[in-house]
Symmetry: C2
Subunit: 450 residues, 2 copies
C-alpha cells in the first residue's frame, strides 16, 4: 500500500490525551459557570453563506477568511462568534425572549500567517446579553462578576479585570473639541503601556497633530489612577461639560457600586481610563483582563457594551454586552507558563482492573459495579507481562490498580495498589471503591491551575 | 446601511435555545458515560491537508468532501472521525499508551444533496479502542455494554443491540466456495428486511449467480434465530469445516458470555446473522442498534472490529474496535418522534430574580448567593411592566420567580412564586433556595427522553 506521511496542519492545535483532559476540564468550568448565570448554550454552523458572514464588510479579517465554493454556493468558515450571533438573533428574533443571554464555545477560523502561539483554528468562548431596544446597565456590572467567577474557579488568583466606559472617553474628547481625531487618539493612547508617557506625548503631537497643551491634558486625564473610588472622585470635576461624558460617568459609577454586590473583590477589579478596545462598535463599559504575573500575554478576556448588534441584517435596535475568551490561545499560554496542575484530572480513569485469571467474567463484573458507582474504570485484558500492565497505568497516570487473581476470587477480596505510594492491600470491593472515591473527591477539590 | 437577509445554510442544524439545551444534555450524558468507561477525550482539527484526509482514497464520499485552497495549501474538512483518528494514532504513536481508548464528539462535513433529515454538517460521537499489534476479544464485548449504558441513561427502553461476527460470515461463504462473491452476497443479504425472503432468493440467483441449492443454504443460515444461546447452538454443527468460521464462532460465544457480566440484559441484545455492515474493513464483531418502535430509522449506533486502522499512514498493525453515533441525525429523529422530555432541563435557569426597588444591590446580592449555591440564576433588571417580566420567565420555562420589593427587604424575606402552580409564598432566602434545589433534584431525576 502506498503510504502518506501523517501530519497536522501548522496553526491547528492538536493535543495529546493528558493536556486534552485539562482543556476539557476548563471547558466544563466555563459551561458550568455560564449556566449558573442563566446563559443558554448556542451552537451555530461553522460554515455560513459568504454574503451573510461578510455582511458587515471584512476589513482586516477579510483576507484571513477561509472562503470557498461548493456547487453554486459561496461559503465561508466563521471567523468569530459575534457575526453568527447577530445572524441568529436577527433570524430567530420572534422566537427568542429578551434579554437574550447566550454562551457559545466553538471553533473559529482565521488563515493568519502561522507563528508560535498563533492559531488558524481556535476556540472562542463567548457570552453576550442582547436587549430588545434597551438593555439595563446592571448587565454591564454582571459581566465582570462572571469573569471573576471563571478565573477564580480555574484556580487563578493573580488577575485583574480592567474596566472603562467608552462614553467617558468620547465625552472627554468632545469637551476638548477633538471628536474627529478621537479614534486615532485612542489608538495612540492604547500604546501607553508599551511606549511610556514621554514617547506618547510626542506621538500625540506628531501623529495626531495635537498642541502641547492638548497632549498634556490627555496625559493628565489618563494618569488618573488609584482605588476605584478615587478614580471616580477624580472624574467628578469634569462633569457638566458634556452630556455623553456625564452619562458615562453615571454608568461607570453604577457598575463599580454593583460590583461589590456581585461578589467581586476590589483588588480583582480596577477602573482604568486607558482601556478603549480597538473595535469601533463598543459604546459603553469595556473590559480587559490581565494576568498580573504575565502582563506580556495581554488581555485574556475582553469585551464591552455595544448599541447595535445586527444593523447589517435588521433595522431592529439590538444593544448588547459581551465578552470573549480566546480559549485556545489562553490554554497555550497557561501551558507554556507551566500553570496547569498535573495532579488535577489528567488521567482518563480512576482505576485500572487487571484480571489475573483466564475467566474474565469476575473482573468484568467488578468493572461494571465500579462504573455503576461513577468510578471511571478501565479493564486491562491484553495478554502482556505483569510489568507492562503496571507501566500502562503509570503512563496514563491512573492512580489505582486492582488485581483480581485466584486468591482474591476465593477470599472475595481484591488487591488494591496505590501507584503513587506503591502500597498494596487486600480489601473488600466496597472498601476499595470507598478509597478510590475519597481520593477522587480530594483530587476534585483541587483546581485546574496551580 | 445596506441590509443582507440573514439565513442559515440548508443542511446545517441550528437549534433554538430549548432544543439546544436538550442536545447539550445528551452530549453531557455521552461524555460522562464514555469517561466512566475510561475513554479519554480527543479533539482533532476540522480541517486537514487534503492528501492526508484522502490517503485511503475517497470512493463514494470523495465527491461530497468540502475541499478548497488557502494560499498554496490543498485543504479539506473532515468527513468522519475515523480518518483523523488513524492520522492521530500514526502521528503520535510513540506518545500514546495502548490499548488507546478515545472518544470524540465533533462536527463532520459532507456536501450531500440536501434533503429532510440529511445534514451536511453533523456531529458524530465516536469511541474506539486501538491495540498495538493485538487487541483482546474482551473489548468487543465491552462495546455493547457502553451502547446499552448510553441509551439507558438517556431514558430509552425499547432498543436492541444486534451483534454478528464477520469471521462467521466470511468462513461460511468460504465453506460454500463462494469467497469471491461474498461481498456482493452480503450486500444482497443486507436487503432481507426490505425485500423479504422470497425476493432475496431470486436476487441471490439472478444478481449473484448462485444455484438454487446455494441460495437455499444461505437462506437457511440467515434464518437461524432465537435466543442468543439458541443461535450459538445452531451454529455449532458448522464447526470444523473452516478455520475462520470456527474462530468467529469462538469470538461470538465469548462476547455473548461476557455480556451478562457487563450488565447488559439479554432482551437488549441479540445475535443477528444478517448484520454485515457495509464497510470493507470490519473483520470481527459488528454492531447495529435499532429503536424497536422506529425500525424505519435504521441503526442509530453502529460499528465493529477492524484489523488495520491506519495502513495508509504506517506499517504498524493497529487493530481496533469502535462505534459511532450520528448524533445530529439521532437528535433530529428523537425530536421528530416527539421523544424528548420537555420537563427535563429545557430551561436556561432555575430561578428568575425580579427586583422591585430602585436599588438593585439587594437583588444582586441574592443572585450571587444563589449562584454560589449552584442554582442557575437570572436577574431581570429591565424596566418593563410586571406582566412582561412574568412572561419572560414563562417563555423561557424558568420554574420559579423571586420578587424582592420594599416589604421583602424590610422583613428579610423573599417572595417565591412557582410559575407552574401559581402559588406564591413569603420565605427566608434559605427556605427559598431549599425549595428550588429540591425541585432541581426532582427534575434531574428524570431522563432526557420520555
Amino acid at each position: 500500500m502506498e503510504r502518506i506521511k501523517p501530519h497536522t496542519l501548522s496553526g491547528f492545535m492538536e493535543l495529546l490525551p493528558q493536556p486534552q483532559l485539562q482543556m476539557e476540564a476548563i471547558m466544563r468550568t466555563l459551561r458550568e459557570t455560564y449556566s449558573r448565570y442563566g446563559f443558554t448554550p448556542l451552537d451555530t454552523p461553522a460554515i455560513e453563506a459568504a454574503d451573510v458572514l461578510l455582511a458587515k464588510g471584512g476589513g482586516e479579517t477579510e483576507k484571513q477568511i477561509y472562503r470557498f465554493q461548493k456547487g453554486d454556493s459561496d461559503l465561508a468558515l466563521r471567523f468569530d462568534l459575534t457575526v453568527p450571533l447577530a445572524k441568529y438573533v436577527a433570524l430567530h428574533y420572534g422566537e427568542l425572549a429578551f434579554p437574550f443571554r447566550r454562551y457559545q464555545i466553538g471553533k473559529v477560523y482565521r488563515g493568519e500567517r502561522a507563528q508560535r502561539g498563533r492559531f488558524r483554528e481556535f476556540y472562542q468562548a463567548d457570552i453576550d446579553i442582547i436587549g430588545d431596544g434597551r438593555l439595563s446597565i446592571a448587565n454591564e456590572a454582571e459581566i465582570p462578576s462572571i469573569i471573576y467567577t471563571i478565573f477564580s474557579s480555574l484556580g487563578l488568583k493573580r488577575f485583574r479585570i480592567r474596566v472603562n466606559n467608552r462614553k467617558i472617553l468620547t465625552g472627554f474628547y468632545a469637551m476638548m473639541g477633538l471628536s474627529e481625531q478621537s479614534g486615532e487618539i485612542m489608538r495612540t493612547v492604547d500604546k501607553l503601556d508599551k511606549v511610556g508617557a514621554e514617547k506618547l506625548r510626542l506621538m500625540l503631537a506628531e501623529d495626531c497633530g495635537l498642541t502641547d497643551a492638548q497632549a498634556d491634558e490627555i496625559l493628565r486625564f489618563i494618569a488618573i489612577t488609584g482605588s476605584n473610588e478615587q478614580v471616580l472622585a477624580a472624574l467628578e470635576p469634569y462633569r457638566g461639560r458634556d452630556e455623553t461624558f456625564d452619562r458615562g460617568l453615571d454608568e461607570l459609577t453604577q457598575v463599580v457600586r454593583l460590583l461589590g454586590a456581585f461578589g467581586v473583590p476590589e483588588d480583582h477589579f480596577s477602573v482604568d481610563l486607558t482601556i478603549a478596545r480597538g473595535l469601533d462598535y463598543y459604546t459603553g463599559t469595556v473590559y480587559e483582563t490581565t494576568l498580573l504575573d504575565h502582563p506580556e500575554v495581554g488581555s485574556v478576556c475582553s469585551g464591552g457594551r455595544y448599541d447595535n448588534l445586527a444593523g447589517y441584517y435588521t433595522d431592529r435596535e439590538l444593544p448588547g454586552v459581551g465578552i470573549s475568551i480566546g480559549l485556545t490561545r489562553l490554554f497555550y499560554v497557561l501551558s507554556e507558563q507551566n500553570m496547569l496542575n498535573e495532579a488535577y484530572c489528567a488521567a482518563p480513569a480512576d482505576v485500572l482492573i487487571v484480571p489475573m485469571t483466564e475467566d474474565l467474567a469476575p473482573a468484568v463484573r467488578l468493572a461494571t459495579r465500579l462504573r455503576g458507582a461513577d468510578i471511571r474504570t478501565q479493564l486491562y485484558t491484553e495478554q502482556k507481562k505483569f510489568k507492562a500492565k503496571i507501566q500502562y497505568a503509570d503512563k496514563l497516570g491512573i492512580p489505582y490498580v486492582i488485581f483480581l487473581g485466584e486468591d482474591e476470587l476465593l477470599s472475595g477480596q481484591v488487591s488494591l495498589k496505590d501507584l503513587r505510594s506503591g502500597e498494596q492491600r487486600a480489601l473488600s470491593p466496597e472498601e476499595a471503591a470507598g478509597i478510590i472515591r475519597s481520593d477522587m473527591a480530594a483530587r476534585a477539590g483541587g483546581t485546574i491551575l496551580r
